[in-house]
Symmetry: C2
Subunit: 135 residues, 2 copies
């Protein structure tokens, strides 16, 4: 079962966690690797992936994973929504309370016991909108 092993707080793990907490850009593993390598030049990409996996498993961070896209990571473990720019791929937080109405509606129309949902909005960020206006 996940979480049954002891968790050593190595320099690598601490740096990864810190960098993730210090950004709101929902970076990819590669971007986190770059941030971490600036502080620990010998850290490897494999270590970054391994730690991101472990930290997500323990609920210390969030993994934003949709098939067909690169995974992104969020230092905020609280559940919240995101918007993704279809043009540049940027992901940002949405400051909205979880929508209970979704659970209510879904429970009414199917015979599942609904325990949650994953919702991500798709759109165009202001930067990309402006760029396309100036073509």
């Amino acid at each position: 079962m996940p979480g049954s092993k002891r968790l050593f707080m190595t320099a690598q793990r601490r740096v990864i966690l810190e960098e993730l907490k210090n950004t709101s850009s929902h970076p990819t593993a590669e971007q986190i690797f770059d941030l971490a390598r600036a502080r620990l030049p010998r850290i490897s990409l494999g270590t970054v992936y391994r730690n991101l996996e472990i930290l997500a498993e323990r609920g210390m961070i969030q993994q934003l994973a949709w098939a067909g896209t690169q995974k992104r990571y969020d230092g905020n473990p609280e559940s919240h929504y995101h918007v993704r720019c279809l043009n540049c791929g940027r992901v940002q937080d949405i400051m909205v309370e979880p929508l209970a109405v979704i659970t209510e509606i879904f429970e009414r129309v199917c015979d599942y016991e609904i325990v949650g949902h994953r919702l991500e909005a798709l759109g165009l960020c202001r930067r990309c909108l402006e760029k396309s206006r100036n073509v």
Copy 2:
């Protein structure tokens, strides 16, 4: 721009489309490949991927990028929601109109132009609920 080319209805394309329309199981490309190969033994996986891409681009089918590692496909091009059973992994269609309120709310709290969203409910299907009751 997508859709500017003529679209030939080859045997491969027809079979892929038919198999997708005939199932409600939201198969992966590989599963569609197996279904198609039963009818066209020489079809290649690359052709399946290419056609799924083209058909989705033209709005004839849907590409579902859910949590997980593989994309899934839906022969129903109308946008609709899905529930996933956390226990057995089954995915089923939800017969609900797209919730416009989601777009409204998201547009109010961020400066993106929202063009859509992906929403997947998570829960336990009746079969799994009954099984757990009988333990």
